[in-house]
């Protein structure tokens, strides 16, 4: 009887902890959605209202008209998409060599790649700025895509190498024995089997490029190339922060990301942890 009661008490405590944690995790997003749907007068009312009393989409409208936030979303899609494409292309070639070929100096190459993954981006921001200025690449998409690719490659190569390792040699060999050309073997056997690895690495690269702030802040000059994080950080009108519009912009870019992460949660969890634990 006493054991039973103690069990119930720990179960209750356990669920209290779980509920508190879940609420705290979700609350800021809820609060942004709540604020984004309020009128200006309700936003600056005290005490704050926990639900919008006069629902309005005016903030969303102003975000895309007055602040041209659509342009920033497009810029971010171009930069993150370009980075993902380049990193997967260069990364899968390198990973194939590291996983399948025997050559001297392999350990040194892997060490070099691992070492650069620890680079703080601040360490190279000054010479990179000078370099990009010389190339007239400031305020261009390639001025962000190329540095991002360089920073994304170590993780990409790391994940893809471990995925390529897991594809059995015999499958490739069997295809060749059956008369496939090496190119067909790559296209029909290896790439389909490596697809989960490409998706995992691609997602992580895309998210990292989408979120990057330090380079984007310093290498873009105006709204033609400013990415979402820069636009959000600099979001203002003269003398005041337009909280309703800012929160609307935040919600617009956050909801798709949250959905994406929830859909791919298993894949992201394995991708994030593969490099750290297995390696």
């Amino acid at each position: 009887m006493r054991a039973h009661r103690r069990l119930r008490a720990t179960t209750v405590l356990f669920y209290v902890w779980v509920v508190v944690y879940v609420v705290v995790s979700i609350f800021p997003l809820y609060w942004a959605i709540n604020t984004s749907l309020k009128t200006h007068n309700e936003i600056i009312a005290w005490p704050p209202t926990w639900f919008p009393h006069d629902l309005t989409l005016a903030n969303y409208y102003a975000t895309f008209t007055e602040h041209e936030f659509g342009r920033n979303i497009l810029n971010s899609l171009i930069v993150a998409g370009g980075t993902t494409f380049l990193a997967l292309l260069l990364g899968s070639l390198a990973a194939y060599a590291l996983a399948r070929l025997r050559f001297p100096g392999k350990l040194a190459v892997m060490g070099l790649i691992l070492m650069t993954s620890m680079f703080p981006s601040i360490a190279i921001v000054s010479p990179l700025f000078i370099l990009l200025r010389k190339l007239h690449w400031l305020n261009t998409f390639q001025g962000l895509i190329v540095p991002y690719t360089s920073f994304a490659l170590p993780l990409t190569i790391w994940i893809l190498t471990s995925f390529f390792h897991e594809i059995p040699y015999e499958l490739e060999e069997a295809a060749l024995v059956d008369g496939a050309t090496p190119f067909q073997a790559l296209r029909l056997v290896i790439l389909p089997l490596a697809a989960p690895g490409l998706v995992t690495a691609g997602l992580l690269v895309f998210i990292a490029a989408w979120n990057e702030f330090l380079f984007a802040l310093n290498f873009t000059l105006d709204n033609t190339t400013r990415t979402v994080p820069v636009a959000i950080a600099l979001f203002s009108r003269q003398f005041e922060v337009p909280w309703g519009e800012l929160n609307a912009a935040s919600v617009v870019v956050t909801l798709p990301l949250v959905l994406l992460v929830l859909i791919f949660q298993r894949r992201i969890i394995t991708g994030l942890t593969a490099g750290a634990i297995k390696g």
Partner: protein, 300 residues
């Protein structure tokens, strides 16, 4: 075997093919990471303001001497250290609790696992601005909640005061990064063999004993990796501080200071010396950690 035959069809040796495949990636890494790094060190030996480029001159270690005497640098160093130690400790304790929670099945676990990922999915700049609004001194919901709970007597300007601003930044950061810590620890938990727990239960070990003598020792490598990753990350904190305070109210960290010297003052010589110092500190950190980790693995 087959690889050798296949490559022969291309007329390339295995070694040559490896070079062809590796060169694009390695060239990018060398050109956009390693070469600029060497340039950072070269710039750090010069007196070089972008606005007065003509007056550029070589000053040897002059910038580093200046660095050691710069009280802003010293202050930024101690803010960064404080931020790193406190936030990583809090993330570790909460992250471990979260990992242990979602490791075992219970009613509603799927929902909890999804909720845990929400802060991780939100870009740091955006989460910082969401929190900036919640910390707001006039209209912020945090003041509202604390007033309702009678924990404060009147609204506070959390981000405007030296005593509280750093804590507000730390709480915002802990909210954002605990999921990552939890995921790394969860991966570590998942590789602990289940039968160890079963035999311990048969031997009459209680929950605490199982945690103390099985979970903690076997989780050690995962704990080390998670703490290393997060420490290196926390030490170069930028986004959250830049958005919440811009470095005001005694919160300026090393990278925020570095950004200011480089892009507000355009002091590229002195600024590069700060960058180089940050790089060296992180390099030494990671070297030490690698050693610890290597020793750990050897002992196992």
């Amino acid at each position: 075997m087959h690889t050798i035959r296949r490559i022969r069809e291309y007329g390339l040796s295995q070694r040559q093919l490896a070079v062809v495949l590796l060169v694009p990636a390695l060239f990018t890494i060398l050109a956009i990471a390693l070469y600029p790094l060497s340039q950072t060190f070269w710039l750090s030996l010069q007196d070089y303001n972008l606005k007065f480029a003509a007056q550029r001159k070589f000053v040897g270690l002059g910038n580093y001497v200046k660095l050691l005497q710069d009280e802003h640098f010293r202050a930024a160093f101690s803010h960064t250290l404080f931020f790193t130690i406190v936030s990583v400790s809090m993330e570790f304790v909460i992250g471990l609790a979260v990992a242990l929670t979602i490791h075992r099945p219970f009613w509603g676990r799927g929902l909890v696992r999804a909720a845990v990922l929400v802060p991780w999915a939100i870009p740091t700049v955006i989460s910082a601005r969401m929190w900036e609004w919640m910390w707001n001194d006039q209209f912020g919901v945090i003041n509202d909640i604390l007033l309702r709970l009678h924990l404060i007597a009147k609204s506070q300007a959390w981000l405007g005061k030296p005593g509280t601003a750093m804590w507000a930044i730390i709480i915002t950061d802990v909210w954002k990064t605990t999921p990552f810590m939890a995921l790394l620890l969860l991966a570590g938990l998942q590789v602990i063999p289940e039968d160890l727990y079963e035999s311990a239960m048969i031997d009459g070990a209680g929950a605490w004993q199982r945690f103390r003598h099985i979970t903690l020792p076997l989780l050690r490598p995962a704990i080390l990796v998670a703490i290393i990753f997060r420490t290196l990350d926390a030490f170069r904190v930028f986004d959250v501080v830049y958005v919440l305070t811009g470095g005001a109210s005694d919160t300026e960290t090393l990278v925020v200071l570095n950004q200011r010297v480089l892009f507000s003052f355009l002091e590229f010589g002195y600024g590069s010396a700060i960058s180089a110092a940050i790089f060296l500190i992180i390099f030494i950190f990671s070297g030490m950690y690698m050693r610890i980790l290597g020793l750990e693995l050897e002992v196992k």
